[in-house]
C-alpha cells in the first residue's frame, strides 16, 4: 500500500501543450490585458453606453459613470444603471490618480493604459494590439485545424456531451479528474474554450469593426443587425467584460486544480497526472 502511495504522489508526466499553443496563449494574455486597459481609457472619453444607432435620440444612456457635486462642493462618483444611482466614489466616476489627486474619470487610472486621460494614445495602444489579437487568433485557429489540436483536444466528443450533467456535479464538488480522465480537457472546459475562441473573441473583434465608420460602409446596414452603432459599442464593452469573467474562472480553475502543475504545463508543456487510486 505504501508503495502505491509513493507512485501515486509522484504520478506520471505527459506533454500536454505544444510550443505554438503555449506561445500563442501567453501572447494572448498580454494582448488582451492591454486591449482591456486601453479600451477602458477610450471608454473614459465618453463614459456612457447607449442602445441603438445613436446617443442623442432623447433616451438617456442606460449606463453612465459620472459624478455629482453637492452643496458643499464635495464631488462624488455616481454610477447610473437604468436610472438608478449608486455612489461609487473612489472607483467609478471619481477616483484618485497615481499622484493621489481625486478626479472625474469613468474607470480609475490604475485600470487604464495610459494611466492618464489620453484618448489619442489609448487608441494607438488599442489598435496596435488589436492587430496582434487578430493575427494571433488567425494563427491559433490555423494551427488548431492543421495540427488537429481542435479535433483532438477541444471539440467535445459525443460521450463528452452526454456527460455534461456529471461534469457540472464534479465541478460543483471540486472533484479533480485523475488518471486517464486528467489527460483530457473535461467537457465544460472544452465548451468554455470553444466559446471563447469561436464566439467571444470573434464577436468582440466584429463589434470593434462595427464602430468603424469606414467598415460600416462595406455593406451598408450590417451594423443595424446588432442594433446600430451605439449598440455595437455596448456589445463590445459587455463582451470585453465577459472575457474578463472567463479569465477569472479560468485562473480560479487553474488555482484549485493544482496551480504549479497547470502553470508549469503552460510554460514547459509538461503536465503531471495523478494515477487513479481507490478511495479505500
Amino acid at each position: 500500500m505504501a508503495r502505491t502511495k509513493r507512485t501515486a504522489a509522484k504520478g506520471t508526466r505527459y506533454y500536454r501543450h505544444t510550443l505554438p499553443v503555449r506561445l500563442m496563449h501567453w501572447i494572448n494574455v498580454i494582448v488582451l490585458v492591454i486591449l482591456l486597459m486601453s479600451g477602458l481609457n477610450i471608454f473614459n472619453a465618453h463614459s456612457a453606453l447607449y442602445w441603438g444607432e445613436q446617443s442623442y435620440r432623447g433616451v438617456p444612456p442606460f449606463l453612465v459613470l459620472g459624478s455629482k457635486v453637492d452643496e458643499e462642493g464635495e464631488v462624488s462618483g455616481i454610477t447610473r444603471i437604468f436610472g438608478h444611482d449608486f455612489d461609487t466614489t473612489g472607483f467609478l466616476g471619481v477616483s484618485r490618480d497615481a499622484e493621489g489627486d481625486m478626479g472625474e474619470r469613468g474607470f480609475p487610472s490604475w485600470l487604464t493604459i495610459p494611466a492618464t486621460r489620453w484618448l489619442a494614445m489609448a487608441r494607438r495602444w488599442h489598435f496596435f494590439f488589436a492587430w496582434l489579437l487578430v493575427l494571433n487568433g488567425v494563427c491559433f485557429v490555423g494551427y488548431s485545424l492543421a495540427s488537429r489540436h481542435l479535433h483532438r483536444d477541444i471539440l467535445p466528443t459525443r460521450k463528452d456531451l452526454h456527460s455534461i450533467g456529471a461534469s457540472v456535479v464534479d465541478h460543483l464538488r471540486f472533484r479533480r479528474p485523475k488518471g486517464e480522465a486528467a489527460r483530457h480537457y473535461n467537457v465544460l472546459q472544452k465548451l468554455a474554450y470553444l466559446s471563447v475562441v469561436f464566439l467571444l473573441l470573434p464577436l468582440v473583434i466584429l463589434m470593434g469593426f462595427g464602430m468603424s465608420p469606414a467598415l460600416d460602409a462595406l455593406v451598408p446596414g450590417w451594423v443595424g443587425i446588432f442594433g446600430g452603432r451605439q449598440s455595437v459599442r455596448t456589445i463590445h464593452f459587455i463582451v470585453a467584460w465577459a472575457l474578463v469573467l472567463f479569465t477569472i474562472i479560468h485562473v480560479f480553475q487553474v488555482i484549485v486544480n493544482g496551480f504549479w502543475n497547470n502553470l508549469r504545463s503552460m510554460i514547459t508543456g509538461y503536465f503531471r497526472v495523478e494515477p487513479e487510486v481507490d478511495d479505500e
Binding site: 492591454i34 471608454f43 487608441r123 451594423v223
Partner: protein, 258 residues
C-alpha cells in the same frame, strides 16, 4: 511544507504580482511618452488604413438613414463659437461677405461666395456622425459636392491632398487655427460635401457655419467646421505641426476610419 511557509510563499508571490503589475503600468505610461515606442504603435494605424482602403470599394457609401431617425438636437462639439473677431463680424452680417478661397495646386485659383457654392451640384444625406470620443448623432446635411468644386478649379497633376483651413482658433489666445486634410480618394467620394444646411435649415454657427466638411466614412474630427480656405497640396508636412490636422498634430491618427 508547513502552513506558515506556504502562506509566506503565497504572500511573496502576491507581492511580486502586485509589484510587477505596478511596474508594468508605470512602464506603459513611460512607453506612451517615448517617441520610438509611439512610432511602433503607429504601425497599427498604417495597417488599418491600408487594409480598409483595400477592402472598401472607392465609392462604397456610408449608411444613410430616414428622417424618423434624426437626432432631436444635433450636438455641437469642439468649437461652438469661434474666438475670431473677423469671423464673428462676418457671422453678424449673415456671412454676406464670406468668400471661400481655393488655391494651391489648382489651375484656376479663386474665391467663391455662398451663392456660388449653392449653385454647384449638391447632395442631401442623412448620416450618422461618429465622434472619436464614442458618441454618435444623426443629422440631415445638404451641401456642395467637393468633387464638383475641385473639377471647377481643376487639379494639377501633382495634387494629392485637400487641406481645409478654418476660422476657429483652438488656442485661448486666438492661435492654432483648426485645420484638416483628406486625400483625393475621399475628396472625390460622392458623400463628401461642403455642407451649408443641417436638418433643412442654414447651418448654425455651433455646427460650423457657413461651411463644414462632411466626410462620412471617417470620424468627426476630420470634418472641419468654419471652412475658410481650401489648399490643394502634394504633401502637408510644411503646414502647422506637419501631421495634416489640428488633432493629428496632437497625436490622433490622420486616417480616422476607425
Amino acid at each position: 511544507m508547513s502552513e506558515k511557509s506556504r502562506l509566506t510563499r503565497r504572500n511573496f508571490l502576491t507581492r511580486l504580482f502586485v509589484a510587477a503589475s505596478a511596474t508594468a503600468l508605470g512602464g506603459c505610461q513611460k512607453l506612451s511618452e517615448s517617441p520610438w515606442f509611439v512610432k511602433i504603435l503607429g504601425f497599427g494605424e498604417k495597417a488599418t488604413r491600408r487594409v480598409q482602403r483595400l477592402v472598401l470599394p472607392r465609392k462604397a457609401v456610408a449608411q444613410e438613414f430616414t428622417e424618423a431617425e434624426l437626432s432631436p438636437q444635433f450636438r455641437s462639439n469642439g468649437t461652438f463659437m469661434p474666438r475670431n473677431p473677423a469671423y464673428l463680424a462676418m457671422a453678424e452680417g449673415g456671412f454676406a461677405g464670406y468668400r471661400l478661397e481655393v488655391g494651391g495646386l489648382v489651375e484656376h485659383p479663386g474665391t467663391f461666395s455662398l451663392a456660388d457654392i449653392r449653385a454647384l451640384p449638391s447632395r442631401e444625406q442623412i448620416t450618422r456622425h461618429d465622434c472619436v470620443e464614442g458618441w454618435s448623432a444623426i443629422g440631415k446635411w445638404k451641401g456642395a459636392r467637393l468633387s464638383a468644386l475641385l473639377e471647377a478649379v481643376q487639379l494639377k497633376p501633382t495634387a494629392r491632398y485637400v487641406v481645409f483651413h478654418c476660422a476657429d482658433p483652438m488656442g485661448e489666445d486666438g492661435s492654432s487655427p483648426y485645420y484638416e486634410s483628406i486625400d483625393l480618394e475621399d475628396a472625390f467620394h460622392p458623400q463628401t460635401i461642403l455642407a451649408y444646411e443641417l436638418n433643412g435649415e442654414t447651418l448654425p454657427v455651433k455646427n460650423g457655419a457657413p461651411l463644414r466638411l462632411r466626410l462620412e466614412r471617417q470620424l468627426g474630427y476630420k470634418m472641419a467646421k468654419y471652412v475658410m480656405r481650401l489648399e490643394v497640396v502634394e504633401d502637408f508636412s510644411h503646414i502647422a505641426g506637419g501631421k495634416g490636422g489640428y488633432w493629428e498634430d496632437r497625436g490622433y491618427e490622420w486616417y480616422a476610419g476607425i
